[in-house]
Symmetry: C2
């Protein structure tokens, strides 16, 4: 049952009253779709239609910064209890620990369903636990045949994560619903908020899992059968946990025959320092860069650190150090990124020249082509290091031989968001901030659920500054004002897209 | 009871027969020192006195390569059983696993005592388990008042060690005793073979432990109280294990009031590739280089590898890579060595720029002064890396700040061996090899028991080539011929030193 089902009653009741109704007490009268659709738009109350909103009036419709802030931090109460006896109360450092599909995630999900339903939405849970809350528009039906324009993100967190990553986007979506209600705004098509399952991939190791299944890039079976890695378990699977927390829905998790999406906007903290350093309020995200992950194995020869002169060493760690410095130079010169985050040395003894090093390599570039060029150059560097190994001319190459092997573990192509969705964000930012110097177009360095939605609908993202660029950490922080600016851009982007979709005849 | 006690009988019995007598069956008649000392030199048998040996006749006295080879490999039977069901029989790859003071070490010690006693030695075990086997000379007493000229090394090994490290020096000492007996040679002073306890420091973590206690650089209490680290145990101590294997002697472990040493020669495999590369048979070791060990902690800032551009990173691993490459360049330019053998990255995630790296640094130089100069330059490099951290000029230094801290863990000063002991080795090498191109003077990169003996008596070392410079590894290998050349140089060095000590009136 949802507010949809309360059709006529709803129209006679102020939103503020409706908001206070609990899930259980709302009336259950079911009306034919055609009827309450018409009723919804023909209410006697003064209502604004999106298509009637000029840019100037749009500009005056804004989120409530305090209410948004409260939403963000009140949802943080569902967090795993710290092992320390005294839970930190300082919201600037307390962070968030809400692994997907745990008890705390269920609490956050329950809140999301209850809140969005109380704000006039109908909620849908699909087979992978994605929750779609849809607020009807002037042109809606109850079966999702008219796809909604969504604001979306995720409520799960890293094991020791921050309070904004994902949560900000969902909370701003909820705030959007409130602002629409406060202002008696009726959108042309339905709008909604979506909470994607397991974006982090921290407990079940596929990130963007829920949106990935929805988009068809991850199979439902694969996702269902994932086993917990945090804690490691051979028993607990995604499907079991979905079932046990009551979020194994029956709707297909599919862009084709599940809940369809008309457009998707995601507000997120940047997770990097660019906006903060540039003192800009908004990043208009044009896409997500391509990236590849490798395991690099460098083999040399163990030898005694005191008795082996440099000319007779095959020092795997020295070669690794050379690799690390050279690879960064390549990335810098080609406008990409390269990072070595993991490195293990063998045999790991203070007076033994390492015989083997394994390291991880993460390379990124906004362009697939440039990424492949980077990769080629890096492979060239490997050959160069191998042939530069000292003393190879002396016929004793077995003493100084270095070999480098790169194994690709993961690849994600570059994503370009839809130009019209980007334009909605950029126009909103321009209108709200007044001048173009307050924002920049940028490419997301990290993956987000929007990567998956962009495969099937117009998608764009909005970034806000992130203190010191720190994320996935309890000290992750955004300023209240920045959250509000971001939520305003999100709200306006959704409304502009709704208008655009109307203009394009999508609701006819 | 020892052969000393069999005085007169011994003189009447050919050495070959004596060698076949077991410890238990040898006669027990005790004679006054003065008597058997005289008797020993006045036997009717044809005997050579060291002082009567001209260089030309010395040259013809040589070890038996096959017998030496057999000794080396037969002692390898006391090795810890491999976990694999089939023990490798190939001596080229089987290696040796004989941690100090274990059952296998006891077996090797028993063999050493029994063999040296059967070869005419009296054995002494001191409080730290060092075993001194002394063969009387023309000028000997039974109380060690005349210090012997020793060949010495160790029978313990690394957990997964080679068959030559230490064993070669002891086996060559035993072979020396056999050659002296075969040739009816009487030395002027006593000569001996010493098996030092726990040279490796693998099970009880002080290397050169037995010789260190003897030399007074490690206290007996400290050594006794060491706890096993292989396997880790809070219970098993050196003293307990010495007692349990029957090698807790009563003689003070002291160069002052224990067994005194007139001179010490140690034959060892090089453990590096220099001789092999230079195709030389002998290294005349002049000393041991100075070295220092450090723990280096590099702190930066964790950040997202996809979202943090280079200008805003404080990448601890990139700084470590720069450190590793720069430090090697410093060492190379100053004629020393620098090695990073251990490195740990935190937080160790493929898409997180590392916030902290800890690494070990081992620096070495034959000169203490030059080592300190190296250290100063390296400290300068640390400051340089700290100040080179990007973007520090932008007033946002907290984003890109790198700090490097170096903590000294261990230091060992340079050791210069005694010129006359070196000369004994060099003259022996010259005489035996014919030309000076067949050997080189060198500095030992690693520590050896000779470092400790050199503090109190003329000491020198002899190196032989080591296949591929590999040591502390089952594939450690020396050729039979090289072992024999090394043993000959050892034998002749001891005899030359004996002659020299006689000339200097040390036995009067």
């Amino acid at each position: 049952m949802s507010l949809f089902e309360a059709g006529l009653t709803m129209r006679a009741t102020p939103w503020s009253v409706l908001q206070s109704l609990s899930h259980a007490t709302r009336p259950a009268t079911r009306l034919p779709i055609a009827l309450w659709k018409r009723t919804f738009s023909s209410s006697a109350c003064l209502q604004l239609r999106t298509s009637e909103l000029a840019d100037t009036s749009l500009k005056s419709i804004k989120v409530d910064p305090d209410r948004l802030w409260d939403t963000i931090h009140s949802t943080a109460k569902w967090t795993e209890p710290k092992s320390s006896p005294s839970i930190k109360e300082d919201i600037r450092t307390a962070g968030l620990s809400r692994l997907t599909l745990g008890k705390e995630d269920r609490q956050a999900r329950d809140w999301f369903v209850q809140t969005t339903e109380s704000l006039g939405c109908k909620t849908y849970v699909d087979q992978i636990g994605n929750i779609f809350a849809i607020r009807p528009g002037l042109n809606s039906d109850d079966n999702g045949r008219v796809p909604a324009t969504f604001a979306g993100s995720h409520l799960d967190s890293q094991p020791s994560g921050g309070r904004f990553d994902g949560v900000l986007g969902v909370a701003a979506g909820v705030e959007m619903l409130r602002v629409l209600n406060d202002n008696w705004i009726e959108t042309e098509g339905p709008v909604g908020v979506v909470n994607w399952t397991n974006e982090e991939g921290a407990k079940y190791p596929i990130s963007m899992m829920g949106s990935g299944v929805w988009a068809g890039r991850v199979s439902l079976e694969d996702a269902w059968n994932l086993k917990s890695v945090h804690p490691v378990s051979e028993v607990t699977t995604v499907k079991q946990e979905l079932e046990s927390i009551g979020y194994l829905g029956s709707i297909p998790a599919s862009h084709k025959n599940g809940v369809r999406i008309g457009a998707h906007f995601e507000l997120h903290l940047e997770q990097g320092p660019k906006l903060e350093v540039a003192r800009q309020a908004i990043g208009v995200v044009e896409g997500v860069q391509a990236y590849k992950w490798f395991t690099v194995t460098i083999k040399g020869r163990e030898s005694h650190a005191g008795t082996t002169d440099f000319a007779n060493r095959a020092d795997a760690l020295y070669s690794a150090a050379t690799f690390i410095t050279m690879v960064r130079e390549v990335a810098r010169s080609l406008g990409g990124l390269a990072s070595v985050g993991m490195l293990a040395v063998s045999p790991s003894s203070v007076n033994t020249v390492p015989g083997e090093v394994r390291l991880s390599l993460d390379i990124r570039h906004p362009s697939d082509k440039a990424l492949n060029e980077m990769l080629k150059t890096i492979q060239g560097i490997c050959r160069q290091i191998e042939s530069n190994a000292e003393n190879t001319s002396g016929g004793r190459t077995h003493l100084t031989r270095i070999t480098i092997d790169m194994k690709e573990d993961f690849a994600s192509n570059a994503v370009k968001f839809s130009p019209e969705a980007i334009r909605c964000v950029e126009q909103s930012a321009t209108d709200l901030l007044g001048e173009a110097t307050k924002f920049q177009r940028m490419t997301s360095g990290a993956g987000h659920d929007s990567v998956c939605t962009s495969m099937h609908c117009p998608t764009a993202m909005i970034f806000i500054p992130c203190k010191d660029g720190i994320s996935h950490n309890p000290s992750e922080w955004c300023e209240k004002e920045d959250c509000a600016i971001g939520a305003n851009v999100l709200l306006h982007s959704v409304l502009r897209m709704d208008r655009l979709r109307k203009e394009r005849g999508e609701f006819e």
